[in-house]
């Protein structure tokens, strides 16, 4: 009982911190907002890569679809800012999920290297197509409507909407991993043929997982498009070389296949990266590259995985190694 009370206290404390953060450190609100975005990235990637074992290099596709769908809706609907954004974000999520379901028909049949590279191909192709398509501004990109309220209100607005999205994603996944659906995902990861031979509907399972991942990413794309204010086809919406890779890195850094790993990974990565940008002018990408190499070479299990190996009792791995 005491443990439970402590837990509630911790949750309440964390909640308060989230609420108070933008007021405690107003200069960093945008940074925090991006952190929420990174957490959504890492969580949704891990649903596929860590839990289902389908390492997608193209999840950025859904982010881009969300960003464009929302921006187009905002441009053409004639609704007020908030209405258009709300409906546009929902639309972005739904379209992204639908795209995942459709593409999944072909792509989710691929495995291992082939799935990874197939999705990479989709992500890059999407960027190039958006860059050539005049309806969405082609190479010139799209500018979203200006936020109607005051400046400070805008920062807070995006901080809280993205925080809410990250929280919703986290809670959804937490619930999901507690059901047998989560076990089924793991089963596919460990041995898909076996899972199929045991009677699991693997195709539907994979599609459901990918669509869910895409749904949250789509919404995050819609919000991020508005947060950034300018949607460039290759460098914002379908930014495979940055966001697309960071998703993977953050999940791996934190520990893939765990619930908290991606969250921890996102936080550590985001902060490290911001520090690099501030102090290593012009060399930050070299540092980032070296960091990536170091992470995957020395911490392939990620932070949580390494902790679990070292202190199996503490970090919630039920399976002790003999």
């Amino acid at each position: 009982m005491k443990g439970r009370a402590a837990r509630y206290a911790a949750v309440a404390g964390a909640g308060l911190l989230v609420l108070a953060a933008p007021f405690l450190a107003p200069a960093f609100v945008t940074q925090f907002t991006f952190l929420w975005l990174m957490i959504v990235f890492a969580l949704t990637w891990d649903l596929m890569g860590g839990q289902l074992g389908y390492n997608s290099f193209g999840n950025i596709l859904f982010f881009g679809i969300g960003a464009y769908a929302c921006a187009v809706f905002q441009r053409d609907s004639g609704l007020g800012y908030y209405e258009a954004l709300a409906i546009g974000a929902a639309l972005g999520g739904v379209l992204a999920a639908a795209a995942a379901a459709f593409l999944g028909l072909g792509i989710l049949g691929l495995r291992g290297h082939y799935f990874a590279i197939g999705t990479l191909g989709l992500g890059i192709a999407a960027g190039e197509i958006a860059g050539g398509w005049d309806y969405v501004g082609a190479g010139s990109g799209m500018t979203v409507p200006l936020f109607p309220g005051a400046l400070a209100a805008r920062s807070l607005f995006f901080y809280f909407t993205l925080a809410a999205l990250a929280l919703a994603t986290f809670l959804t996944l937490r619930w999901l991993y507690g059901t047998r659906f989560g076990l089924a995902l793991n089963a596919v990861r460990d041995d898909e043929d076996k899972a199929e031979a045991m009677g699991l509907y693997t195709a539907r399972l994979k599609t459901a997982a990918w669509s869910l991942s895409a749904f949250f990413l789509g919404i995050s794309g819609a919000l991020a498009g508005n947060l950034i204010g300018f949607i460039d086809p290759r460098d914002v919406a379908f930014a495979g070389a940055t966001y697309g890779v960071w998703m993977v890195l953050m999940a791996i850094l934190g520990g893939k296949g765990t619930l908290w790993g991606p969250v921890i990974g996102a936080a550590v990565f985001h902060i490290t990266q911001e520090i690099f940008w501030t102090y290593l002018l012009g060399w930050q990408r070299v540092a980032l590259g070296l960091l990536i190499v170091a992470i995957v070479v020395f911490f392939p299990q990620g932070i949580l995985g390494t902790l679990r190996e070292k202190f199996p009792g503490r970090f919630g791995s039920k399976a002790e190694v003999q």
Partner: protein, 300 residues
């Protein structure tokens, strides 16, 4: 798009020109793809730095020429320099990611590619650079088709190196060790083959092939520090189409890809060229997989 298509009918020579130039571009892809296939087959690694090796090969050739050496000598020099670099990278990083999960190697080499890009940016600047090999241009069909001779050289060099590689793998001692390691590394090691050295040599050989390709790229086209990714992706595409064990198929797929790109880019517009290449790749993958799935198998 339609106009472009019709243009091909109005000027039939144009299609020859496009296809031939495409084939010549493909030759460079083929060189990089040889290496990709080797590294994939033997080390079981997808090497994302492939394109950066090409880029660095180009800069080495450029530096050699600036140092006053004959331009064409840049090709072997680039190959040699990259061989050394490849060996070094293997000893530093790659050997740690062999036998690990796919993602470890992909991300590690991706990290390396960022580092190499940025270092080249610092060292050589982001400018577009080219090198004049002084070979002139081959004019066909009354000058309606022009082929730079350096590209023709690249073409034959790619074919020649392919043949050499085949002979090397089949008959040389190291080549045999490479093949054995590729097929069954544990068995190779119980026969006394030092698999670690085989891996290092394979990786370095791959870098050397890419280096030669890069030297040709700077002479026939242009290079800059961020040119790598398209070469990585294309060599990957070629290898998945051709399979990792078949040098002849790599040549065919590479040349075919070059021609496809050039013609498709012409018809649909250059802005869609990259999208088309990637969509083609996805389609090939899915199509091959669906065919296998009818046999209830998967691409492995």
């Amino acid at each position: 798009m339609i106009d472009n298509f019709l243009l091909l009918f109005d000027y039939p020579v144009l299609s020859a020109d496009l296809a031939l130039n495409g084939l010549l571009i493909g030759a460079v892809f083929v060189l990089a793809a040889f290496g990709m296939a080797l590294v994939w087959g033997v080390l079981n690694i997808i090497n994302i730095v492939q394109g950066e090796f090409v880029m660095l090969g180009g800069f080495v050739a450029l530096m050699a020429a600036e140092a006053g050496l004959p331009v064409l000598l840049g090709i072997p020099i680039a190959a040699l320099a990259l061989f050394i670099l490849g060996w070094g990278l293997y000893r530093l990083v790659i050997f740690r990611v062999i036998d690990r999960d796919l993602f470890v190697s992909v991300l590690a080499t991706f990290g390396l590619s960022i580092v190499l890009q940025q270092l080249s940016n610092e060292l050589f600047g982001a400018d577009v650079r080219t090198l004049e090999a002084g070979l002139g241009t081959l004019l066909l069909f009354d000058g309606a088709v022009a082929l730079a001779q350096i590209k023709v050289l690249a073409f034959f060099l790619a074919l020649g190196l392919g043949l050499l590689l085949w002979l090397f793998l089949k008959y040389s001692r190291l080549g045999q060790a490479i093949r054995a390691t590729a097929q069954n590394p544990r068995a190779a090691s119980i026969l006394g083959i030092d698999t670690d050295r085989v891996y290092a040599a394979t990786y370095a050989l791959n870098a050397a092939l890419c280096g030669a390709a890069g030297a040709l790229v700077v002479m026939a086209w242009a290079i800059h520090p961020y040119i790598g990714l398209p070469y990585t992706v294309r060599s990957f595409l070629i290898v998945i189409v051709a399979g990792i064990g078949n040098i002849g198929a790599v040549v065919a797929a590479g040349l075919g890809l070059g021609a496809f790109e050039n013609v498709a880019g012409f018809i649909f517009g250059t802005e869609y060229q990259i999208a088309l290449v990637f969509l083609l790749m996805v389609l090939v993958l899915v199509w091959r997989n669906l065919r296998l799935q009818r046999k209830r198998m998967y691409l492995k």
